[in-house]
Amino acid sequence: MIDIKNLHKDFGDLKVLKNIDLHIDKGERVVIIGPSGSGKSTLLRCMNMLEVPTSGKIIFEGTDLTDNKTDLDKVRCKMGMVFQQFNLFPHKTILENMTLAPKYHKMMSDAEAKETAMKLLTRIGLADKADVYPSTLSGGQKQRVAIVRALAMGPDVMLFDEPTSALDPEMVGEVLELIGELADDGMTMAIVTHEMGFAKEVGTRVLFMDEGVIAEENEPKAFFENPQNPRLQDFLSKVL
């Protein structure tokens, strides 16, 4: 589904990603962990070209995203993204937040877009919030709306960039629960997170990034119980 080949990303002199190769299959749930500054967010943001790679290829469903001729707007409709800071549109109601993009792309009629949005809001128990503005929601509610806003587009893959890092501790659970539900539905996803328990539970594969390279990858059980890389052993001993 996503194929990353020889990916390099520099910010000026700083080499953030060094020759990353990564393949994500349909239905996989890849969790990326690592110390801050290791390039994990940058890698995730490269997947939908919010960061433009310095060199290398990113192929999504057969389309080369690094090709200048690719219509990225169209591709991004198939890749949902959830941000650390939620990034709901404060000048739009919750319902408008959710219907804005589907209407913009003329994917559905106004009535259909509204119906889809209401269905999703009902699913997360926030149907009664449809007509309020984001500023009245708690952090956890905002992030759940941000997730269903991305889902409203019917994406094939979801990218999560530290979805719980900006939340108060008591709100982390509700967001992780929703992501877990998506996982149960078979959604393909890539998740950057610091929640190790969640990584273990939801991931089908865990990557450890360090200084711009994927230092270790494995299925979750072996990854956490039997880490090989000394940097990973050190990292896990600090966070677990």
């Binding site: 939908n48 200048n68 409709c77 990034n87 993009a101 500023s135 806003r149």
Partner: protein, 240 residues
């Protein structure tokens, strides 16, 4: 005392239908202010649009022909803003009147253009600041939902930026109103020049100059009050 006032009033406004000079001056001041403000906004929007498109292209390291043209345009706009802000308005007005639009018969139109072109530079900075005040996460969220760059600007960023832009734009219009008082330099009879003409006839500076000052003050004070009210209204809609 009252006799003195009466005499001054008659001398300044009534005798020889002198009020007509003031009316003419007031009319020209308003024409120049309003036209210049409109020209300024058009130029300002254009310049800031070029700037934000070029900045984006630069971030994305685009090298297409269109992107290169944008960069060149942006460079020209940068020079324009620097020149307009870096030279005295009086000089700009004289250059416009005697050099650029040398033989042009209608000096009021020349003033409109000179003040408009100058104001455009300031308006572009106001708009640029307003756009920069919107969190970049908003742009990223828009783009990640597949909105084009222009679409994101139009639907997401500008509606939020407008709260900061609108009051500042009104303040810019007020500044233009006051600046038009130098129109006399190129023999256009604006309000200030009208007062000056009458002063040289009546030989009583107090009455004419203070009358003119009062008219400016009422206009500026009224506009400032309106801006204040606008600001409060916009701030209110923030809270919902």
């Amino acid at each position: 005392m009252f006799e003195l006032f009466k005499e001054g009033f008659i001398k300044t406004f009534i005798r020889d239908n002198r009020y007509k000079v003031f009316v003419e001056g007031f009319k020209n001041t308003m024409i120049i202010t309003i036209t210049a403000a409109i020209i300024g906004i058009i130029i300002g929007v254009f310049v800031s649009l070029i700037h934000s498109l070029a900045e984006n292209a630069r971030d994305k390291h685009q090298t297409t022909f269109g992107a290169k043209c944008l960069m060149v345009f942006d460079k020209i706009c940068t020079i324009y803003v620097a020149v307009m802000r870096g030279t005295p308005l009086a000089i700009q007005l004289m250059i416009m009147t005697f050099i650029i639009m040398g033989g042009f018969p209608n000096k009021v139109i020349v003033c409109c253009i000179a003040f408009g072109v100058n104001s455009g530079a300031y308006v572009s900075e106001v708009i640029r600041g307003g756009i920069a005040s919107v969190d970049y996460g908003q742009t990223e969220a828009g783009r990640s939902l597949g909105l084009s760059q222009i679409g994101t600007l139009r639907l997401i960023v500008l509606p939020q930026a407008i709260k900061n832009i609108l009051p500042a734009l009104c303040n810019e219009a007020i500044a233009v109103l006051k600046e038009t008082s130098i129109c006399g330099l190129v023999s256009v009879v604006d309000l200030t020049r009208a007062g000056d003409l009458i002063r040289s006839r009546t030989m009583s500076p107090y009455f004419t100059l203070i009358s003119v000052a009062i008219v400016y003050f009422i206009l500026v004070y009224g506009l400032s009050k309106a801006v204040g009210r606008l600001e409060r209204r916009l701030a209110q809609s923030d809270r919902h």
